[in-house]
């Protein structure tokens, strides 16, 4: 694996205009582009090309984007970013829970897409588990279960710590409410328990000295989940 630079990206989208846009701009960002226009071919291409990342349109004619996602996930853990239309929160959540790594809503800005691609590729590239996560003045020591903010120890309850750990070790990636519930509470959770998440996220933000109107670390993705923000580079 050669990191973000020069990574091989497969685009599965039926709209030639979107494919052209992605091809021109992503090649300018030094990515190697492969493209195809329908789902069935996309599944085949994914096994031939061996891409480092797949950009998949959920609204494909014929074999649906969701089906393509499931087929690929049967044998590959390649990062997949799905493209969706706005106001289809249900589709986004379904795709994320079915194994998509992130989503971008159409229409999207190029900066946003490239940032998502970088995050997704970075998570794959990371081979060794770092014992200490650093985000600006925030340090999370996974071995010691200790959180420090601006040099001072932050006291967290076990649940708060687990939540922060899940979010921070997936920094930059979206975590759906269901994924978060599952990873923090294990099997003992209910879909309707999602309001507890809000309470704990509220506590966590307070302890991390977050400005409630402009959070630095934990960003809410309305209706979908949370994203731990990477510090601006």
């Amino acid at each position: 694996m050669n990191g973000p630079l020069g990574a091989r990206i497969l685009v599965i989208d039926d709209e030639p205009q979107i494919r052209k846009l992605l091809k021109v701009t992503l090649q300018a960002h030094q990515f190697e582009l492969h493209e195809c226009g329908d789902g069935e071919e996309g599944v085949i291409q994914a096994s031939i090309v061996h891409p480092d990342l797949i950009i998949l349109d959920l609204g494909l004619p014929g074999m649906s984007g969701m089906e393509v996602l499931r087929r690929i996930r049967e044998w590959s853990q390649v990062p997949i970013i799905v493209l969706t239309a706005k106001d289809q929160e249900g589709d986004k959540i379904a795709a994320l829970d079915a194994g998509a790594d992130d989503y971008v809503t159409k229409p999207f800005g190029m900066g946003e897409l490239v940032a998502r691609i970088r995050v997704a590729l970075r998570h794959v590239a990371k081979t060794t588990d770092e014992p200490i996560l650093r985000f600006g003045s925030l340090t999370i020591d996974l071995a010691q279960r200790q959180v420090e903010l601006e040099g001072a120890l932050v006291k967290l309850t076990p649940t708060e710590y687990e939540m922060l750990k899940v979010l921070a070790s997936n920094a930059g990636k979206i975590i759906t409410q269901r994924q978060l519930l599952q990873q923090v509470w294990g099997g003992h959770h209910h879909e309707s328990d999602s309001h507890y998440l809000r309470v704990y996220v509220g506590h966590l933000r307070k302890k991390l000295n977050e400005d409630p109107t402009n959070p630095r670390y934990i960003q809410t993705e309305p209706g979908i989940g949370y994203r731990f923000l990477l510090p601006a580079e």
């Binding site: 279960r145 309850t157 309001h195 809000r198 509220g202 409630p212």
Partner: protein, 532 residues
């Protein structure tokens, strides 16, 4: 009680009464004779004759002409037999007494006929009153109904109850056929239910409908048919036909019922005309409203789409065709122009789609407990991108405020409201977002106050109408959809949204949202964890 049954019973009763009247008269006159004899008034013939007028008057008033004449005749016989010499004989000694008898009979008959007529009039008035009462009841019931089908069922039922016979109403269906609304099965006589939907009945009803004349039993046309059909007519047109199934009865009774049916028909026609007019007026209003909205939609959409499209196409073609002419600065400007135009079109499309989803009822609320502070932070992240020159302050309550709503839609509402505050206020001005919760009424209030141009009081309600743009803001681009969508979303959450004057100048939007769901507040329970 059903009127015709009452009439029938009354006739039967009057038969019995008449027979007993003659018995009573006979008995009374005999008793009177005995009494007069006992007190020995046989000498005073004039008084005796006067006393004999009593039974005549009484029977005239109570039983009518027949018994009165009978009483007069019987009295004369008794008078002659017992009081006129020679006593206990029908022969008359003095022939002048015959004149007395004639005069007596004449007086008796005259009095009896007068009293009898009085009685008849009384009965007629009573019958009229009963008819009037039932018609009044009918009309009162009909004026309360606004739905045509309910009205037709009601007319058929009421007419059937009033006349004691199955009834049916026929109304044209727009294709030249008549639709039947039958009265429910008549309870009193156990008739087959749904009278009136047979082919022959519909054929007669059609004839009546087209000719506007009464037909059927008891009328001059088609008198051999078992039903009676009257047209439902108002001044200008015939609305339909009212029919009842008649059974064989007296001609006199039929005339009475035709009158009653015609009166019912008049009422029904009035009621049907009223409901139809109301319906037409409503349709006309809807048509006018949708016409207005269509025009506004076309104007707004064509303008709002064309302007950014012009900018995009112009900039893009310019860049493509004259690539060498432009400096890199120019090129940046033109591509920025393209981006802005596209973003503007995106907002329009989002709003149009939102409006369509709201209007078509396709909007499904995905309600969950959501933290209002959290929503506001998401909103601010969004608006900051296009409003670097505003000072936005947020005042949140100490405890997190939760509402049971659709996070994404509430975010859309607040993005619209805050964007408006930014759009209609000057650079570097202050925008204050305040969230307060009222524990007693379980209402959460979000206020967004700006220091912009403000909204004239007269327009504060209309700005929430679709495609309404304030006169004073015509120079600012917009579709007039944003606030209409906000209002729709807030209302499906059971809340309200109003525009107020900001005390320091500008506009203040106030949104009230209930904080309860299913009668309970946010289940805010700590799990009693301790920090490590």
């Amino acid at each position: 009680m059903i009127l015709s049954e009452r009439i029938k019973k009354e006739t039967q009763a009057s038969h019995r009464k008449r027979v007993s009247a003659y018995v009573w008269v006979t008995l009374g006159v005999i008793l009177l004779t005995l009494l007069l004899h006992a007190i020995g008034m046989s000498g005073d013939l004039v008084n005796v004759a006067l006393v004999y007028l009593f039974p005549v008057l009484v029977s005239a008033v109570y039983w009518g002409m027949g018994p009165a004449i009978y009483a007069a005749s019987f009295s004369v016989i008794m008078f002659d037999f017992f009081f006129v010499p020679p006593y206990l004989s029908f022969t008359v000694e003095d022939l002048r007494y015959l004149i007395s008898f004639v005069v007596y009979l004449a007086v008796a008959i005259l009095t009896a006929s007068l009293a009898g007529r009085l009685r008849q009039q009384l009965e007629m008035v009573k019958a009229r009153e009963a008819t009037t009462n039932s018609l009044y009841a009918l009309s009162r019931q009909m004026t309360a109904i606004t739905d045509l089908n309910t009205l037709l069922v009601n007319i058929a039922t009421q007419v059937s109850l009033t006349l004691g016979k199955p009834a049916a109403v026929y109304l044209p269906d727009g294709q030249g056929d008549l639709l039947v609304t039958s009265s429910p099965a008549s309870t009193s006589e156990g008739e087959k239910d749904g009278w009136g939907d047979g082919e022959s009945e519909i054929a007669i009803a059609k004839w009546v409908y087209h000719h506007g004349q009464i037909a059927g039993k008891g009328s001059s046309t088609l008198r051999e048919s078992p039903g009676l059909y009257v047209p439902l007519r108002t001044e200008e047109q015939i609305h339909g036909v009212l029919a009842v199934s008649m059974n064989a009865g007296e001609v006199h009774e039929q005339q009475e019922q035709i009158r009653l049916l015609e009166a019912c028909g008049g009422l029904a026609a009035g009621a049907i005309a009223r409901v139809k007019l109301a319906e037409e007026a409503r349709l006309a209003q809807i048509t006018a409203e949708s016409e207005r909205i269509r025009t506004a939609l076309l104007d707004s959409v064509s303008h709002e789409l064309r302007t950014p499209l012009t900018a995009i196409i112009g900039s893009a073609t310019g860049l493509l065709e004259n690539d060498t002419l432009f400096t890199s600065e120019d090129r940046r400007e033109l591509t920025g122009n393209i981006r802005d135009g596209a973003l503007r079109m995106n907002r329009l499309v989002t709003n149009l789609l939102g409006m369509v989803r709201l209007e078509s009822g396709m909007l499904q609320l995905n309600r969950k407990w959501c933290d209002v502070g959290d929503i506001i932070s998401v909103v601010l992240t969004q608006v900051r991108e296009f409003s670097p020159h505003r000072n936005i302050q947020v005042e949140l309550p100490d405890e997190p405020a939760f509402i049971y709503g659709d996070e994404v839609l509430m975010e859309q509402v607040l993005v619209n409201i805050v964007s408006n505050a930014i759009k209609y206020s000057p650079d570097e001005s202050l925008i204050v977002i305040t969230v307060t919760s009222d524990k007693s009424s379980s209402q959460l209030t979000i206020r967004v106050a700006d220091q912009g141009i403000g909204i004239p009081e007269a327009e504060r309600i209309r700005i929430f109408d679709k495609f309404y743009r304030s006169e004073s803001t015509q120079h600012v681009t917009g579709t007039g959809l944003g606030l209409a969508i906000c209002k729709g979303i807030v209302e499906v959450h059971g809340g309200t949204i109003v525009a107020e004057a900001n005390p320091g100048g500008g506009t203040r939007m106030r949104i009230n949202i209930p904080m309860e769901a299913h009668g309970s507040r946010f289940p805010y329970s700590e799990q009693g964890e301790v920090e490590d």
